[in-house]
């Protein structure tokens, strides 16, 4: 890259007869601009991208370049719209330990003191799941869809078995569970996060 830079300076110096016109501000600006366009051209040769929209360019200094060079210069200075981001990962990945702590905190805060009551439990279930959902959304992991399930189970000596399976992307999707147990009931919260492009 350094060599390229020197090359560019040499090329530009040739056009100005080995004299960088510092005394004349207009010519100096033109010299800098030429240097910049040369560097951009060199860089464009080694990269490629797609652009779906360009702004019209009407600068007369472009006249001396060839047709293909104008096109590459236009794409380099154009406003990029609706191009693919080619992002494979989220900026902030889902962090299970943070979510587990938060969910555990919400469960214990709301359920530690209460007793099981058939009438209010369904409402409690709903509100806790909504609270956990908003809390997880506020954590700001981008590009994730969430499914939060909350179970409240009365303790009467019965047995219960809960199992889950999923088909998803093991590298990016994750799940978290939090439990709260009191004398009269057990409560379980399952939070599943799926990456969405």
């Amino acid at each position: 890259h350094r060599l390229q830079g020197n090359d560019t300076i040499l090329k530009c110096q040739k056009t100005f007869n080995n004299q960088i016109p510092k005394h004349n501000s207009k010519l100096y600006f033109f010299f800098c601009f030429k240097k910049y366009t040369q560097i951009v051209k060199d860089r464009m040769r080694s990269s490629s991208h797609e652009v779906h929209g360009t702004e019209p360019m009407d600068d007369e200094s472009f006249a001396e370049f060839g047709k293909s060079e104008i096109f590459t210069l236009r794409t380099s200075m154009a406003k990029i719209r609706y191009a693919n981001t080619y992002k494979m990962e989220p900026y902030r990945k889902f962090q299970a330990h943070l979510v587990r702590n938060k969910a555990q905190h919400i469960l214990t805060q709301r359920l530690q003191e209460t007793k099981y009551n058939g009438a209010t439990s369904s409402f409690l279930c709903n509100s806790i799941s909504e609270e956990i959902l908003t809390a997880v959304k506020d954590m700001g992991f981008d590009r994730y869809k969430y499914v939060v399930t909350v179970l409240i189970l009365q303790k009467t000596g019965q047995a219960i078995k809960i199992s889950s399976r999923w088909v998803w992307d093991v590298a990016r999707d994750n799940w978290v569970s939090a439990k709260c147990e009191t004398e009269s009931f057990v409560s379980l919260a399952l939070i599943m996060a799926c990456y969405y492009e």
């Binding site: 099981y116 058939g118 439990s121 369904s122 409690l124 279930c125 709903n126 806790i128 799941s129 909504e130 956990i132 959902l133 997880v136 959304k137 994730y144 869809k145 969430y146 499914v147 939060v148 399930t149 909350v150 179970l151 409240i152 189970l153 009365q154 303790k155 009467t156 000596g157 019965q158 047995a159 219960i160 078995k161 809960i162 199992s163 889950s164 399976r165 999923w166 088909v167 998803w168 992307d169 999707d173 399952l190 599943m192 799926c194 969405y196 492009e197």
Partner: protein
């Protein structure tokens, strides 16, 4: 953006999903009474059968299937789910099944890719 021919309403497929879940439950625990030793095996087989039948549909979805099997004892059970997803393409289906000795609840969630 997904091309239009692949976007399908998950809710439209709901009938298929519930029938898959039902058939999975029936085949795994159909005529049985609650047995503590076997319940582990039952839950896994119900969930795996449902999931395999869903994946056989070949739709571009991620699936989450949860199964709860509870012994009938007069106890109360409440479940609630809240989801943050795209309403137009994602959906869920919950099937409640019971016999004389136990309850079985299977929830299947489908999230579009």
């Amino acid at each position: 953006a997904v091309p239009n021919m692949y976007v399908c309403e998950y809710l439209f497929v709901n009938q298929n999903v519930s029938s898959h879940s039902n058939s999975a439950i029936e085949s795994a625990i159909g005529g049985n009474a609650y047995q503590h030793s076997k319940v582990n095996q039952w839950t896994t087989s119900v969930v795996e059968q449902t999931l395999s039948q869903l994946t056989k549909l070949g739709k571009p979805f991620k699936y989450i299937v949860t199964c709860v099997i509870m012994q009938k004892n007069g106890a109360g059970l409440h479940t609630a789910s809240s989801c943050f997803w795209d309403n137009t393409s994602d959906g869920n289906c919950t099937v409640r099944w019971e016999n004389k000795t136990m309850y079985c609840i299977v929830s299947a969630f489908g999230l579009a890719i």
